[in-house]
Structures are given as structure tokens and as C-alpha cells.
Symmetry: C2
Subunit: 513 residues, 2 copies
């Protein structure tokens, strides 16, 4: 058995059975091993940012890593942006990066690059296999690293000769360490702070945004009056009717500061301290008031659900409490696009148990509150700020959950980073309805330019305007085999969206706004 | 003056007046400075691989660096593949990467990443500005580094506060070190080897492939009988009628080994030792025979033209010698696509003084010899093997040379990596005729799979086939504002290509093959 075959068999033995790939020559033995070994689903992406974004969406929904197969340093580099987003989402991911044969590397052939340096800059765990005999063990260690809480990026670099040489050995799966428990004294200290009745906010992320986490958090909130919030972007959140409605901390610094203004106790549950996305002259980095106290109930790798349940129990909260009802009722709006009206319309239309992948900082800013009463669903966001995430994230989520409708909400400027994902959707006949917010501008940047104190002029207009020429998303989608339609009103959107949800397979709606 | 303005003014003072950009929030002060300062041409790319690929094409043709403007680690990462290609081409390039403000970095906001680690893995020169007072000097040093022979990648990381703080100072241009001369004893030793009349080959790259370099190399070849060759991929080469016809060393190992089989003296002129693109089981890494002797006439950073002239003089070669004539006459062929027939047809049609950018390993393999007698032109290739290079390279070349027609020869699989470049072509009304070889397959990989000793099966078919669904390049181009047509025969290609060359502005021809 050669190294490549031992790799494929070890991945399968460790529970990794899906591989998003864009291979090159140095990965040919891995591909040949895939031909030989049954059981690994291979999905091609026509750009590496699609491959890694798919693996992110897949990992968030499957709760286990996909493998990616990438080609040398430049191939991995093309995928780093969505690896970065996955890292921020705590998504488990195993990257297999083929590279020059060990003995060929000194000759510095054209594709030779600092693959390990690139991998280290983007991964939690990096290893370069040195021999076919260790490839299996290296792969098992990579899967273990990926599965280690809260979910990690593991990158295994595979020189071509370690793949093709004989002497490969399949490795048994390695145990995944349990999430560390939260110390009882931490729970007691935070309970005491909450009993003070001073204004408190629980910031929930990761596990804490699962249905179980939210339910426990709601017990704490009801017992103490503490607010519940999510960071600006969530990796995955159980949302919709019957789920605890938790709004996010706004992206805009002024909004975030206002939301946290009176908070005395900021309690982090799998989350980091609320921080501005960027620094702005004269504005603070931390969103919590200087005289507030930050408590850590659960670090990201700890068991946040158990910690919330312990906290609720410590506070004597009833096991079952009612879920606050949002007053915002979904309803079909009419007329031109407007963020809240769109959100309300979408809320009325989202199919039961769907998955929403969203990467639309401008057009998506108002989506959360109006969708509290949508059908129950999971919501995925761009956690790392590297744009072009929703197209591939939705694609990977659809691979992970074949029975569920996926709704992809993608800004147009961001969507151009990874439009190739549409081709993968068509190829795999994935059940994704893509909505592109076509405002034909990097609108967020106009706001950012003003935020940093400048005024838009000639060059900024040159660099933010996307309307010259206009992108035609219907043609772009059709060019990759995805049916598409253009709408310009909310009622037009509702008609097309309903119809797209009523059929299977990918569809794209260009919403001109 | 803030740091950003000192940066823009310093770049301009140092001769950098073109900026390919895909900015984000951390670059807003740079953008604001562009609004304020006249003289910098800003060109937007809708993906960073387009931005860096444009800068590569620009740098090769302009002979001086463009700046790129990129957003944090993930933005730079998206551009690394074409930075890698530029590095292999010795293209001068100045990357400006905006990043988190110095004091904001410890808060690890979502877009925070190891920007410097990524930059180091891909650049010759990296610096992170630490204060607005030094930004100007840092920029001058970056341009100096980029311009240092043979041409380097310089990456300057600009924390947002170093851009927005006052105290910026414009720095004077720094001197560019002259190319080191070749030692006379080196020239004499190589002349002696050539006088032995043992089979010799000069491998030419970089400067040596300029018209002056080729002319001097031809004198050496005529005086000694030495063969002239280029590496498999050239960064820029003066080609066509009146230029010395030099063929390349084949990509396929067997072909390369055969070409070098009897060579006793391999003389490197700005080139590296001929090496296989990849290692293959049982095949050598070096293409020259084990008993051959490798001589270095000029390292890449040395003055290759002067060295060739000295060598020709040392050998007593006449100052003017005739240029060997190729027997391959351009002619319009008919029927289906076939590599040599296509090359001959293209040779008959290429406009005088055009620029050809080529990234088509499979369909482009036969292009060199049949185009020896095309109109005089410059030919640019993908030197680093990171595919998706021709679209942006052609785009940047067109920006550098507004009076010249650019012909972009792009394989379809590779083209999908950077198709967003078409939008930049439309936006800037660039004079580029794009030819996409639509074979709807990663055909090179089938060959590679067989080369490593495997047989294609289910998974490899899944990962190489691009025909399910078929890409429609006419629609993809139209979606980005570029007119396009599809051809299926050589005569159809000739008609459309002639017509496209007769007008100005971008056009795309999908050649179904």
C-alpha cells in the first residue's frame, strides 16, 4: 500500500468521508487512491477559495471535518481566506496539501514555495509527512487536531514521494479530547455577579448558540434579567420560531457602544470580548464600558452548554421557562428593496428547517430581528470578515445536509470573490437558492471611508463603484449551469423565491437594489 | 500630512504611478490620500488574484513596479498565487497591505491574521510600518527592493493608524543598485568550454530573452554551434519575425531529457538549471545528463546582455550575424482545433507589435515553433505554474502598453481561477482579445495521472472533468460586460479573431475544442 492509499483509508477510518478538492500533479497519487478505495465523496471546486469555503460550510453543519485537497503552496494560498473564516468559526477542517517530492524540493521547480510557512500562518496544526510509512499516522493526528474543541484547522502537507512510495500503514482513529469542564467556582462567581442585579449581558458564541445552549441561556436571562447577545457574526445559530430570539451586537461601533453602554457585567460564553471589527480614529477597540467587568463563563473550547446549565441551576432558575416572543411578525412587503422590509419578507418565506448562509454586510445588516419568527432554521455567517463566503459556505452546507433547503444570501461585491461555487452547485445538483444583493457598489466601504473621517472623491469612486460595467448575475449563473432570474421589487422577489423553494436544485435570484 | 498621504507621494516620487487595488476598511486612508493626490492611476480588480496578476503583467511590460493595494492577511492571501508567478518571473512589485491598527491588533478582531507570516512566505522583502513618521521611508525602501535586480516582490504592511496619524514625511527615491557585472574569468572559462566543440546549450531567461540578449546569444550560437533554448516557461520574450527563433525545453520530462541528452555543457544565462516541473517516480529531477557540466554565465540578477556580448566578443563572433530562419510559415488552417494547426493560424493573424499572454499548458504546448515567423511581438507566460495567470497578466500588460493589442491565450480550467479579470478589462476598456481553449477538462491532469503510473477511474473522472455542467464562456464574459463569441473551427476562429483585432476594447473568443 502506498502512502496515499494509507491516507485515504485512515481518513475514512477516522470518519472523514467528504473531500472538497482542486488537485494538481502533486496530488495525483491521492486521486489514484480515491479511484481505488470506496467511500470518499469527492467534490470539485473550480477555485480553491470555493474548496475551503465548502469545507467550512460542511464542517459547521456536519459537526465533523471534511478534507480538502489542494495543490502546493499557491493552491493552499488561494484557499486561505475561507480557511481564515473557518478558523474564526471554530470549524473542524483537514487540509491535505500535496507538494514537491522531498528530493525534488532542492531544485526549486516553478511551483515550489514556502508551503509550510503559508500553512502555519493559517492553521492551528501543521505537519509535513516525511515518509510513506508515517502518512497514515500523520492523517490520524490531523483529524484528531481538527476535532479537538472548539474545532481546529489541521493542515497536512504531503510531499509527492510520501504519497507514491510503498510502505503505507493505515492508522487507527485517535481519541478526541473531551471539552474541558468549567470549574464550579467560576460558575458560582458569575452567579454572584448576576445576583447583584447590576446590568449584565451574556455574549454567546459557538455551542452556546445551539438550541440547548440558547435554552439554558434563556433560563439564566429569565432568572436574572441579564441580556443575551451574539457577536456581530455567528458561526452557526439555531434561529426561528420556538428558539430563543437573541440579537447580535451591531457592526457599527456607535451602535455596539450604545448597546453595551450600561452593562456592568459582560459574561463571555464561548465568545471573545466584544471588539470593533476595525479600529477607527478616536473610537475605542473594546465595546464594553471601561468600568464594566468581563467574566469568562466558558472559553471556546470548554463545554458552554453544560456551563450555562450549571449557571442556571446555581441561580435556581426553573428548568422550563417561556421563550420571549418577538413582536416582529413575518410579512410580505412590497416595493423596492429596503433591509427591514426584505428581512420581514424573507422571514415569511424561509422554508421549515432550512439553512441560511449569509455574507452581506450592507444589505444583511437588518436581517436578525425580523427573522426571529421565521420557520425554525440554522443561520451561518461570515465569521472572519474575508468576503466571498456565502456562496461556498452554502454549497458545503448543502453537501452536509442533503435533505434541507439552503438559502444563500450573498452581497454582489463579495460574491465576485467566489462565484465559481455556483458551478459546483450545478454539478452536484445541490438544493441552494442563492440571493445576490446587487447594489453594484462596495457600499460598506463608502461608510467605512466616512467612518475614518474622510470624504469620497475621484479615486474612492473608482475603487468602490461596481456599476461600470454592470454585472449581470443571470448570465454569470447561466454560464455555470445555474438557472437564474432578476427581480427589482419585494413582491417580485417573493414570487421567484417561493417558486425556487418549491423545486430542487440550485437557483439564483439577482435582486437589483 | 498623514502616513497614507506620505505613502502615495513617496510612491509617485519613486516612479510608481499605477495601483491595482481591492481595498477594504484598513486601506481607507490610502484611498482617501489617492483622492487628494493627483497622479496615481487606480484600477479595481474584483478578486485579489486579479490584482496581483495585473501587477505582474504590468511589471513585466512596464519594466517598473505597479503597486497593489490589498486588505489584511486574507486579502493578501487571495493574491499570493499570482505573486508567486511574478516572483518566478522576476517581476518588480510593491504590495501595500493594510492591516489592523497597531493598538487594535491585540484584541484579535475577526480579520486579524498573521499578515506578516503570509507576506514573508511569498515576498523577497517585507516590512510592517510602525509609525506614520516612517511610512514614507518604508515605501521608498519597498520600491528600491522591488527594483533591485532581477526584480523582487516587496510587501509593505501598513497598520491603519500608521496611515491615519499625522507626521508623515515624503521620502526621496532610493538608488537602485546596478546589476552586478559578470567576471571576465567566468566569460573566458565558458568561451573555452564552447571552443571545445563539445555539444553545448545556452539556456536563456529574463534579460537574455530581450531582443538585445537574443541577438548576442545568436552571435555565440553561430560562432560555436551551441544550441539556444529557453526554460519551459518564459517571463517575457521578444519573438516573431526578425527575432532569433529560440524554442523552449519541453514540459514533458521525456521530451526535455531527449532534448538535452547529448549536451556536454549547459550554460545558464539568467536561468536556473533545467528541472522537471514535478518529480515523477523513477524519473530524474534535473534534465541535463549526469555527465554534463553546468556553467553559470549570468545569475538572474547579473547583466545577462553584457555577459552574452562579452562572450560573443571573446569568441571572436562577428558583430552582425544572420538570424536563422524557421521553415514554419504561418498559414491559416481549417477544421477542428489541433495545437500545431492552431499555432500556425494564430501566427498568421497576430497583429504587429502585439503582446501575447499565455497560460494554457495543454492547448498551448505547441505554440512556440509555429509562431517564430509571426509578426514581431512580446510573449509572456505563466512562470510559476499557479494557474489562472493569463487573464490578469494580459489585463495588466494592456494597462502598461495602451497602444498595443494584447492577445490572451487562456485554458478554460485555469481561466476559472481569475475570470473576474474580464470585468476589469471591460471597465478600463482595455484592448485585449481573450481566447479561451474550452476543452472542458483539466486535461493536463489526465496526463499527469498516467505519468505518475496510475490509471484514471471514478474519482479522477470526478475531479478532472469540467463538462458537467458545461461552462458557457460567452455568457460568463457577457455577465462581466465583455463581448464574446464561440467558435468550433480554425476558420471560424480566424474570422472572429481578425474582426476582434480590428476593433478596440476587450473581446473573448471561446474556442470549443
Amino acid at each position: 500500500m502506498n502512502g496515499a492509499e494509507s491516507l485515504v483509508r485512515t481518513l475514512l477510518a477516522s470518519g472523514v468521508d467528504t473531500c472538497f478538492a482542486n488537485p494538481g500533479t502533486s496530488e495525483m497519487h491521492f486521486v489514484a487512491a480515491l479511484d481505488k478505495v470506496e467511500g470518499m465523496r469527492c467534490i470539485l471546486g473550480m477555485a480553491e477559495t470555493v474548496v475551503t469555503g465548502c469545507a467550512d460550510g460542511y464542517g459547521r453543519m456536519a459537526g465533523k471535518p471534511a478534507a480538502t485537497l489542494l495543490h502546493c503552496g499557491p493552491g493552499f494560498a488561494n484557499g486561505i481566506a475561507n480557511v481564515h473564516n473557518a478558523r474564526r468559526a471554530h470549524t473542524p477542517m483537514v487540509n491535505i496539501v500535496g507538494d514537491q517530492a522531498t528530493y525534488h524540493r532542492p531544485f526549486d521547480a516553478p511551483l515550489t514555495s514556502d508551503t509550510e510557512g503559508l500553512a502555519r500562518a493559517a492553521s492551528h496544526w501543521v505537519r509535513t509527512s516525511t515518509s510513506s510509512a508515517t502518512v497514515g499516522a500523520d492523517a490520524a493526528a490531523a483529524v484528531q487536531a481538527a476535532n479537538t474543541a472548539p474545532g481546529q484547522i489541521a493542515t497536512l502537507i504531503l510531499p509527492a514521494d510520501t504519497a507514491w512510495n510503498e510502505g503505507g500503514a493505515v492508522a487507527a482513529p485517535l481519541p478526541v479530547p473531551a471539552r474541558p469542564a468549567v470549574a464550579p467556582e467560576t460558575v458560582r462567581a458569575i452567579a454572584q455577579a448576576l445576583r447583584s442585579k447590576q446590568p449584565a449581558m451574556l455574549v454567546l458564541y459557538g455551542q452556546a448558540l445551539s438550541e440547548a445552549g440558547l435554552t439554558a441561556a434563556n433560563r439564566v436571562a429569565q432568572a436574572t434579567g441579564a441580556q443575551l447577545r451574539t457577536p456581530t457574526q455567528v458561526s452557526r445559530m439555531a434561529r426561528g420560531r420556538g428558539r430563543v430570539p437573541v440579537d447580535r451586537i451591531p457592526y457599527v461601533v456607535e451602535g455596539a457602544l450604545k448597546m453595551l453602554a450600561d452593562t456592568k457585567h459582560v459574561i463571555l460564553v464561548g465568545a471573545k470580548p466584544p471588539t470593533a471589527f476595525f479600529a477607527y480614529p478616536g473610537k475605542p477597540s473594546l465595546m464594553s464600558p471601561p468600568d464594566s467587568i468581563t467574566h469568562v463563563l466558558a472559553r471556546p473550547e470548554q463545554d458552554a452548554v453544560a456551563a450555562l446549565e450549571l449557571l442556571a441551576d446555581e441561580l435556581g432558575a426553573p428548568k422550563r421557562v417561556s421563550i420571549p416572543e418577538s413582536e416582529l411578525k413575518p410579512q410580505l412587503a412590497r416595493g423596492k428593496f429596503e433591509p427591514v422590509a426584505f428581512a420581514s419578507t424573507l422571514a415569511a418565506l424561509l422554508p421549515e428547517n432550512c439553512i441560511v448562509a449569509e455574507d452581506a454586510v450592507t444589505s444583511g445588516r437588518a436581517l436578525f430581528a425580523p427573522t426571529f419568527n421565521a420557520a425554525p432554521m440554522d443561520w451561518l455567517q461570515n465569521t472572519g470578515g474575508a468576503i466571498g463566503h456565502a456562496f461556498p459556505c452554502a454549497t458545503g452546507a448543502a453537501v452536509a445536509c442533503p435533505g434541507r433547503k439552503v438559502v444563500c444570501l450573498q452581497a454582489d461585491g463579495a460574491g465576485m470573490y467566489s462565484l465559481q461555487a455556483l458551478w459546483t452547485q450545478a454539478r452536484e445538483k445541490l438544493d441552494v437558492v442563492n440571493v445576490v444583493f446587487a447594489n453594484r457598489i462596495y457600499k460598506i466601504l463608502y461608510g467605512e471611508l466616512v467612518s475614518v473621517g474622510a470624504q469620497p472623491g475621484r479615486a474612492s469612486n473608482e475603487l468602490f463603484d461596481l456599476a461600470r460595467p454592470e454585472l449581470d448575475w443571470v448570465k454569470l449563473a447561466a454560464g455555470m449551469g445555474v438557472e437564474a432570474a432578476r427581480v427589482e421589487t419585494l413582491e417580485g422577489f417573493a414570487d421567484v423565491f417561493k417558486s425556487a423553494c418549491g423545486r430542487r436544485g440550485p437557483f439564483l435570484i439577482e435582486f437589483r437594489i
